[in-house]
């Protein structure tokens, strides 16, 4: 399969038609989708219409966007006009958004062709895609293993060649961890650089949309297409997305890169740690100054995250009550109707987090829980700031292990939560981070290296990621 960049070039030059490219990918989907289950919905008809429109534009001589004719898979928590959007939850079954998310609009304007809506953990709550109401997605590298989550469908779609690029959302690692487990590139941009308008909220102060791709360059291009100010999102930063593509071949000579001590010890599988040390050594060999650095507050990240994210989620998800849209379980009174609808519509993990969040915000507990979590957030930011005074970028594993098997962690929520131990602090700080494949673990499954940078430090982050990618080829 070709890269998004090659496809766009071929479509722009008239060498290949968008329809031809689409058919190739629809073929891949029909071949393997039944075993992978990356999609909640394959939007064949809309995709054909969109590809035809691109081809007509080519025939007329343009203008063509940078992703002309490139198939893209969209996580099912991004609103798509006229196309069902479910968050992999029964509670949203049948709901069809009357609008596109800003990122979807921007992809379409760039010429990209949406091929489907990808499976996910319900409302993005999970790390394995096992929490989908519509059944799990399987890891294309080994169907007995999870693809990670919550954006497991989007990661698997790219890994399986269903689309060269896809979009996910990352609240605590939901792009980077599945990218690592599926052996693809995944980017969580700086909070505020990519619009959240049309992204169905989980933890609003943590959520960020980002791409999956097979290469760092493709991911960079997608970030540039979807990023930049959106007046419809009050938390959107005023500037354009950092111009990362033009710096991908800058190399790392002279860069200062810190290996995060707290993410290299206990809880990290030895084969994963070994690959990350190899990455650090290679970066040093390529001319970077590499040192270990302690970022002490990240160890509190998991605890703080499991107060902040559920607290916001408990409020964000209160709108699903059967009154206006989605599932409704009828009952004699409005109160009972709401209760029965929510009981039937939400899965166990969603209910667990609503309970956690409601508790954390309750009078008498707010200061001890939510209030303290906000203080920890400040501490994490402070410790990262201290590290970034000495380093341009940081390095860690993305996930403590390679892809695990179905059912391995579903019995014990804590063991599932620990999967995000390396990714969560970034969201709490609002910083960018990305996962880039860096070889295989002892089980032959992909290992992801996580590159972290300060807010709006995407150029440094992409330079390091591109260098790591280059070292493997």
């Amino acid at each position: 399969m070709s890269s998004a960049i090659d496809i766009a070039a071929a479509v722009q030059s008239g060498e290949r038609s968008a329809i031809e490219v689409l058919e190739e990918h629809l073929g891949a989907i029909s071949e393997r989708e039944s075993e992978v289950h990356a999609f909640n919905l394959v939007t064949t008809d809309q995709a054909i219409a969109a590809a035809t429109a691109v081809d007509e534009l080519v025939a007329k001589g343009g203008p063509l966007g940078p992703l002309a004719g490139v198939p893209v898979a969209i996580k099912d928590n991004l609103c798509t006009r006229g196309v069902a959007t479910t968050c992999s939850s029964k509670i949203l079954e049948g709901w069809v958004p009357p609008y596109d998310a800003t990122v979807v609009t921007r992809l379409a304007a760039a010429g990209a062709i949406m091929v489907g809506k990808t499976n996910m953990d319900e409302f993005a709550m999970g790390s394995s895609t096992e929490n989908s109401a519509f059944g799990p997605t399987r890891n294309p590298h080994d169907l007995s293993r999870v693809p990670g989550g919550s954006s497991g469908g989007s990661a698997a779609a790219v890994a399986a060649g269903f689309a060269p690029i896809s979009l996910g959302s990352d609240t605590g690692g939901s792009i980077r961890q599945p990218a690592a487990l599926c052996g693809v590139v995944g980017v969580k941009p700086t909070y505020g650089t990519v619009s959240r308008l049309g992204l169905i909220a989980f933890g609003s102060s943590l959520d960020q949309v980002g791409p999956f791709a097979n290469s760092v360059a493709e991911a960079a291009l997608v970030c540039e297409v979807i990023g930049g100010h959106d007046p419809g999102d009050s938390t959107s930063l005023p500037q354009a997305f950092p111009a990362v593509s033009e710096h991908l071949s800058d190399g790392v000579a002279g860069m200062r890169i810190g290996l995060i001590t707290e993410m290299m010890g206990e809880g990290i599988a030895p084969d994963v740690a070994k690959r990350i040390r190899a990455a650090a050594e290679w970066l040093a060999a390529a001319g970077a100054e590499v040192e270990e650095v302690s970022v002490p507050a990240v160890t509190f990240g998991l605890s703080a995250y499991y107060l902040v994210a559920p607290a916001e989620a408990s409020s964000n998800l209160s709108r699903y009550d059967g009154v206006r849209y989605g599932l409704r379980v009828d009952a004699p009174t409005t109160g009972e109707m709401m209760e029965l609808t929510r009981t039937a519509g939400f899965g166990d993990e969603v209910k667990r987090r609503i309970m956690l969040g409601t508790y954390a915000l309750s009078a008498g507990y707010y200061d001890a829980f939510y209030g303290t979590a906000l203080k920890v957030r400040t501490l994490i930011r402070r410790d990262f700031d201290a590290a970034y005074e000495r380093f341009d970028a940081l390095l860690s594993p993305t996930s403590p292990t390679t892809a695990f098997s179905f059912g391995d962690k579903t019995a014990d929520p804590m063991s599932m939560y620990l999967n995000d131990v390396c990714t969560i602090a970034t969201n709490l700080a609002g910083h960018p981070a990305m996962s880039v494949p860096y070889g295989l673990g002892d089980d032959g499954m992909p290992v992801g290296a996580q590159v972290l940078a300060p807010a709006l430090g995407e150029v440094a982050m992409f330079r390091v990621a591109a260098a790591l990618e280059g070292s493997l080829s």
């Binding site: 949203l92 958004p97 909220a201 419809g232 009050s234 938390t235 607290a311 409020s315 709108r319 849209y325």
Partner: protein
């Protein structure tokens, strides 16, 4: 009303919600309009659709600042929070409101009486939709079905929280009336209580004079007019005093004002505080209006009712009650303009107070009004004639001199009037006897007769004087 106010003190604090007169809603571009077919002024955010996000309406902020400045509040850096509770007319099941950091802090408002009432805060928040419960008792619990109209959901509200500085139903009414005048003056609201543009929640408690502690308060909702406010306060105070006198404990409650029955009824207990799980709204950023913006708003503020009252009193010698009424009717500018044209100050105020309630009076030509007050003061017209000319001036305009002439008005010669008075006294000896004995009711009899005989050309005050002159000296002692 059987409250012994020498013993009991009524303590009232008001929370007034006003809908801000913006073009669009607080966080989206759906129109902010009253009325309309149900669910027509809506958009994705109004319905709380997944993926929708709020964007703060700058016009609403500007109106909030205007009100804040008019109420002498501090304008502060503020933060929006979510107030979480489940109710079908709240589309997201949380209300975006300002909690611990409101846009307008500590301020005050001066009543026409001169009393100053503290303002605790005035913060921005969004309105809810409207539910209609059909069947059963018309309540959400027993309805057959419920309908929700989201046209109002998301309309910007400013909640103005007053200090418990009010001490009577009348004072509470004066406060709301003054607040409404300010809101209308700064263009923040149309002030229509009947359309819900202005909603008053009233906290009432009672204590004995000299008590340091406030009594347990009850909050009264559903007050839809100034009249209801006064009645509700009086009823509620009496209810609480009766309970205390009967040795009962006042429970902190939310109570509903029933206009038809003229009493308050318990809605729910407030002994246990509701837990709204407030937390900062993560979809919005902090609001910090620049000093430059605040200064610009301040400079553009119109002159406010209190200042207008003071100005009128100073220029015309009107008392506070007269000034309050004239400013409320918006006639102060006319009065001041007439004074500039040399109007008689006392007659100007008297006419504005008593004879200019017609809204058309606002269009009166100040020069002609001034001329009339001078004719009146100089005795060129009787008071009845003056009223007639003024009424015509208001309705049709023109020159008061010409109007008086057209009617054949001129003040009567005193000789003519003396003759009329003497004749009437002779014709009505019995009534005259009573007049001389000091019966106050009989004076009107003679004045009326004189007016009739002179076809209204006599001046009532002059007639009264002539009658008094004719009372024998013996009767006066």
């Amino acid at each position: 009303m059987s409250i012994d106010l020498s013993v009991w003190e009524i303590v009232i604090g008001l929370e007034v919600h006003t809908e801000l007169a913006t073009r669009t809603k607080l966080f989206c571009s759906a129109p902010n309009e009253f009325g309309g077919e149900p669910n027509t002024n809506i958009d994705p955010l109004t319905l709380g659709l997944p993926g929708s996000l709020p964007v703060l309406n700058e016009q609403a902020v500007e109106l909030a600042i205007r009100v804040g400045l008019a109420l002498n509040c501090t304008i502060d850096r503020s933060v929006f929070s979510r107030k979480n509770y489940f109710y079908p007319d709240q589309p997201t099941n949380y209300q975006i409101s300002q909690f611990d950091l409101p846009i307008n802090g500590e301020g005050w408002l001066e009543l026409p009486s001169g009393k100053v009432i503290g303002i605790e805060r005035a913060h921005l928040e969004e309105d809810t939709g409207k539910s209609t419960h059909v069947g059963g008792g018309g309540r959400i619990h027993d309805a057959t079905y419920s309908l929700v109209d989201y046209n109002r959901a998301g309309v910007p509200l400013l909640e103005i929280v007053g200090r418990p500085d009010l001490r009577s139903g009348d004072e509470a009414r004066a406060y709301v009336s003054e607040l409404r005048a300010i809101l209308v003056a700064v263009g923040a609201s149309d002030g229509k209580m009947e359309e819900g543009s202005l909603r008053v929640d009233c906290n009432v408690s009672v204590r004995k004079h000299g008590d340091a502690e406030l009594g347990t308060r009850c909050e009264i909702k559903n007050i839809n007019s100034l009249r209801s406010l006064g009645r509700a306060v009086d009823y509620e105070a009496e209810r609480q005093i009766d309970m205390i006198l009967a040795g009962e404990r006042i429970e902190q409650q939310t109570r509903h004002w029933n206009e038809d029955e003229g009493r308050t009824l318990k809605l729910r207990s407030k002994e246990q505080a509701d837990d709204y799980r407030y937390f900062p709204e993560p979809d919005l950023v902090g609001l910090a209006p620049s000093q430059e913006w605040i200064d610009r708003v301040r400079e553009a503020l119109p002159i406010l009712p209190a200042a207008r009252r003071h100005r009128l009193c100073e220029r015309s010698g009107a008392d506070t009650a007269q000034a309050a009424l004239i400013v409320e009717r918006g006639l102060d500018d006319l009065c001041l303009a007439a004074l500039d044209c040399g109007a008689d100050p006392s007659r100007t105020i008297t006419h504005a107070e008593h004879n200019l309630s017609d809204p058309k009076a606002l269009e009166l030509d100040p020069e002609m009004f001034a001329k009339l007050t001078k004719m009146d003061a100089d005795g060129d017209l009787s008071s009845t004639q003056t009223k007639t000319v003024l009424a015509e001036l208001v309705q049709l305009g023109g020159d008061p001199g010409e109007i008086a002439e057209a009617h054949g008005f001129k003040a009567m010669d005193s000789g003519e009037l003396d003759a009329v008075v003497d004749q009437l006294i002779a014709e009505n000896p019995e009534q005259w006897q009573r007049f001389c004995e000091g019966d106050p009711k009989i004076s009107g009899f003679f004045v009326g007769k004189v007016m009739k005989a002179t076809q209204g050309q006599a001046d009532g005050k002059v007639v009264a004087g002539l009658l008094a002159d004719r009372v024998p000296n013996a009767a006066k002692e």
